[in-house]
Symmetry: C2
Subunit: 311 residues, 2 copies
């Protein structure tokens, strides 16, 4: 077994092809934590008096993020960390993940706020999916869930009076979304795929993505090595076919040309200023129906619920 | 056999998935010619007094373009069409293609200008490839050939006093180049992948791509139906592995999500104005060594030849 190219002491357990490094367990774990620290500082994600709400689903990415941020912020006593979880109401799936999230928070002694679709929108995703199947063939439950979950996370973060909302989107998520936007003919939206999403409205908590430069595969290995217990079965509402294809394609690309995902990410970093300069500044207003911030009169969420005749 | 969805008369021979049309032979051929007409007029590619040099390699794309442009321009008697061909000097490959190009031009009664690497740069691509193999491991012969061929085409177009240079780049070529630029981390370059490339210097002939909205597969079928004789063996200097991967990926994407290539193309159309506005205007000057237009003191081509100690 070859030796670690960083410490030259222990056996390597991971070959990081895009950098040429072979890493032992300790150096690998350190490298992930260092990477997150670098990302946080490069994009100025946090300030000394922040209360950070970590969006914790109970999967490998969000639980790893919770642990890492909790460790990092130990050196910053004024910073507070808490966790927010959304219970969409998916039978046989979310319950288990919720348990993992709860147990991690208890172990770390972290405040944990759970909000549910049922309490916020009067129905679970399972109930909503039934209506969608009957009334609306165009959009999948995932399209609805994305909008409802984003809103729920913001609501929860507001309820715990957080100043930042950290989500565990990783390098794979981000590059997939970039290519999806291009393939959807929606390239102007790629300006919005970015490590820090400013609020722009008092009700909108600033979102940050400390994992945006870490490949999904490395987070999975990190969670495994840290012995983190997490939900591993996938959501029963399958992801869209197109995202799956883009994922496969990017993985093939990365396998053949190590570093391809980083290159895509950096590419977009370089053109984002031009896209943002040309984009019309969205003036946010209060939705006429629910009062939440929106760029049009009725917010996307209320429009969706209207379409299903729920409101 | 289902009937053509356009004329409702003849048997369909082609299912165009991205539009849902099933087309008979005549309607298919008409549709390609119409598409080229639309592209020419959408991007204002030609003017009434143009002399158009068509870059003809002898392959299916360039010969089809030559035939279509020749037909279209019959209705514009002031417009002149001619062909320019570059003989790179590739043994057992270019000779056959040259014959196809020559024969087509003779048949159509079109002026045909052939320039060779040997005459312009004192050596054939085969000779150059030998030097590259010995001295320069980083770049492939294709990288050199691309630069040399572009220059040669411009020189040939100038020699025949053309006002436009039409190349047969198709929808596949263009979307591949777009994604390649993103994967190379070179996204700002995608602003330069466009249907009309303005000269910006008296020595630089304006380049236009009338096939930029036609999928490669449809040009192949068109050439076959028109009974065009063309070079079909691929160049012995293989294309880069990355472009081949991107091609495969885009084809898979198109198969699963008909219209994906068009979506990528349109996406870039939408962000190009922003990218162009932010890009610094390149001031072209004369290369200190060869006198050709360049954005730096020494042009790319002379830099390459210097690297190989040829000049």
């Amino acid at each position: 077994m070859p030796v670690c190219t960083l410490c030259h002491k222990h056996d390597a357990i991971y070959m990081r092809r895009y950098s040429g490094e072979r890493l032992c367990e300790k150096c690998f774990k350190d490298s992930i934590e260092d990477k997150v620290r670098t990302t946080i500082s490069r994009y100025k994600m946090f300030e000394p008096n922040d209360k950070i709400a970590v969006a914790v689903s109970g999967g490998k990415d969000s639980l790893s993020l919770l642990h890492i941020l909790n460790d990092i912020e130990k050196n910053f006593p004024q910073v507070l960390i808490c966790a927010v979880t959304v219970d969409e109401g998916i039978k046989g799936y979310r319950d288990e993940a919720l348990e993992f999230a709860k147990r991690s928070c208890q172990k770390l002694g972290i405040e944990h706020k759970i909000v549910s679709f049922k309490e916020l929108y009067k129905m679970t995703l399972d109930e909503l999916a039934d209506i969608i199947r009957r009334k609306e063939k165009e959009l999948s439950p995932c399209s609805y869930c994305g909008v409802l979950r984003r809103r729920a996370l913001n609501t929860a973060a507001r309820q715990v009076e957080a100043s930042k909302l950290a989500t565990a989107h990783n390098l794979d998520d981000e590059t997939q979304t970039i290519l999806l936007n291009i393939i959807h003919g929606d390239a102007l939206r790629i300006a919005r795929v970015k490590p820090v999403l400013k609020g722009g409205h008092p009700k909108l908590i600033q979102r940050v993505k400390p994992f945006c430069e870490v490949p999904e595969k490395e987070i999975a290995l990190y969670a495994y090595l840290k012995n983190t217990k997490f939900q591993s079965i996938p959501c029963p509402y399958a992801r869209t076919a197109l995202r799956n294809d883009v994922r496969t394609m990017l993985n093939t690309m990365e396998e053949r040309h190590a570093g391809a995902k980083f290159a895509v990410f950096r590419s977009i970093e370089r053109i984002r200023p031009a896209l943002e300069a040309s984009a019309q500044k969205e003036r946010l207003q209060d939705c006429k129906l629910c009062g939440e911030p929106t760029s049009s009169k009725i917010c996307k969420l209320c429009q969706m619920l209207q379409k299903l005749h729920i409101i």
